[in-house]
């Protein structure tokens, strides 16, 4: 996993979603552990486009459950 992706994702989760940095471990579940709710996925899509420069379909997020899933998803899509 590219450390710059991990750093960027953790940064926006901490800053924009106000999630405690200590909770941001790869195995953390977005909904159950980090308190991300369905509406928040809309904002994650916006931030990914802004920070990583690719378009995310809302449906792509359906397979993303843990923070590690999110890192991996971004890594496979980001050029």
């Amino acid at each position: 996993m590219k450390p710059e992706i991990v750093a960027k994702v953790n940064e926006f989760l901490a800053e924009e979603f106000e999630i405690e940095a200590a909770l941001l471990t790869p195995e953390a579940r977005l909904v159950e552990d980090l308190g991300i709710e369905s509406l928040d996925f809309v904002d994650i899509v916006v931030i990914i486009e802004r920070d990583f420069g690719f378009k995310v379909k809302r449906e792509d997020m359906e397979g993303v459950h843990t923070l590690e899933d999110l890192y991996k998803y971004i890594e496979t899509r980001a050029v």
Binding site: F17, E18, V42, D43, V45, V46, E49, K55, V56, R58
Partner: protein
């Protein structure tokens, strides 16, 4: 029928960010009017506006609750928290009892504009983000505050132009009077940004006295040349007398009557008959005579025709007793959707502190306004009963009568 009382109030306005600051501004006749230079760039006729700071709620609310709040929602949150505290109502009480919300709001321009700008630029609606829809609807204030405060009673927004929040209080009064609700959070919020005021500026309705902003809002004065747009938020807690007694709440005032009417006339030019019917209906509902009213907080926005017709209506009903009249819009500017509720609060502050706030900038009367007993300066006076007028586009009129609780 239940008696309806007011047990709390809170305010965030251009003349003060809380009740204590507003009390001082009212007493000393301080103006909240200034200049917004951005409006010149936009081609406004007038850059005059009420001046207010956006509250920073980062330490008060979690992100999800903040991102649905538009500008006027932020003001409303602050005013409502002050009102609830003033009423002795906490989150525990709100979770265990059925409390409602009826709030006046009639626009939310910025989130609509920003969303459409994004769609036009990016051609992708997802990029608008999740907060915009909850900020952009007219019911933005009630939909957000009802969630933040976990309210389980009546919950909707009243859009009645510049009488919105006066009608909100009137409707809450009727619901509590009939026993359908015990406690309702009422009020009004008003955005103040340039974008929301452009189309109104285009009607040449605003004062252009930019060289002396604090002198620009001149309700009832012979040389008035239009209103000054303003904003903020104001919240009152309406409650049945029984509920207030049960909780041991401090009763600040009683709502005695609500009058309403529609002019059935021009969309923007007010008339005399509509307000006269609203005033009469309110007096009748309160079971009071014109001479029982100690103070009238006029709608008077400082437009030439509006103030003249309100002066005629007041003179027609109150000409015999000539109670003191002032328009606090001389200090605040026209708070529009918020004005009905804020002016009830201004008047309650006067009643509580035994003074009538000045109608600043009232230097010379004209033929019609000279018939009223206008307080041009602060007057020490015991107020037992006051009346507050609010009128709006489309000819909507609202009148409230409120008294000291006895």
């Amino acid at each position: 029928m239940n008696r309806v009382v007011i047990t709390g109030m809170g305010i965030y306005s251009t003349i003060g960010k809380n009740l204590a600051e507003v009390r001082d501004s009212l007493y000393y006749g301080r103006s909240g009017i200034g200049i917004d230079p951005r409006r010149k760039e936009f081609g406004f006729r007038s850059c005059l506006t009420g001046v207010i700071e956006r509250p920073n709620l980062k330490n008060d609310l979690p992100r999800r609750m903040r991102i649905g709040l538009a500008e006027q929602g932020e003001y409303s949150y602050v005013a409502t928290m002050e009102a609830l505290k003033n009423a002795g109502i906490d989150m525990d009480f709100l979770e265990k009892n059925e409390v409602g919300i009826l709030y006046g709001n009639d626009s939310s321009s910025i989130p609509v504009i920003e969303s459409i700008d994004l769609i036009r630029e990016k051609r992708d609606t997802t990029l608008i983000g999740s907060g915009a829809i909850f900020q952009s609807m007219n019911s933005t204030i009630t939909m957000n505050l009802s969630v933040i405060l976990k309210l389980r009673g009546i919950n909707f927004t009243i859009s009645g132009a510049c009488a919105s929040s006066s009608h909100a209080i009137g409707m809450a009064y009727l619901l509590i009077k009939q026993g359908l609700q015990d406690i309702i959070i009422c009020g009004g919020g008003q955005e103040i940004n340039a974008e929301s005021m452009g189309s109104f500026d285009g009607l040449s309705a605003f004062s252009t006295r930019e060289d002396d902003p604090t002198k620009a809002s001149r309700p009832f004065d012979r040389d008035r040349d239009g209103l000054v747009p303003s904003g903020g938020a104001a919240t009152v807690i309406l409650e049945s007398y029984e509920s207030a007694m049960r909780r041991g709440a401090r009763i600040l005032a009683e709502v005695n009557g609500y009058g309403f009417s529609s002019n059935g006339d021009h969309i923007s030019v007010p008339n005399v008959d509509g307000p006269v019917r609203s005033l009469k209906r309110c007096l009748e509902d309160a079971g009071l005579k014109a001479c029982d009213i100690d103070y009238i907080n006029a709608h008077a926005t400082a437009t030439p025709i509006g103030d003249m017709n309100e002066a005629k209506a007041i003179d027609l009903i109150f000409g015999e007793c000539r109670p003191l009249v002032s328009s606090t819009k001389s200090m605040t500017g026209h708070e529009m959707w918020m004005g009905g509720a804020s002016e009830v609060i201004y008047s309650m502050i006067m009643m509580e502190n035994s003074f009538v706030a000045p109608n600043i900038n009232f230097e010379n009367p004209d033929e019609f306004t000279g018939k009223l007993n206008i307080a041009g300066k602060t007057i020490e006076k015991k107020i037992e009963v006051f009346l507050s007028n609010s009128f709006g586009f489309g000819g909507t009129n609202s009148t409230l009568i409120i008294s000291k609780f006895k």
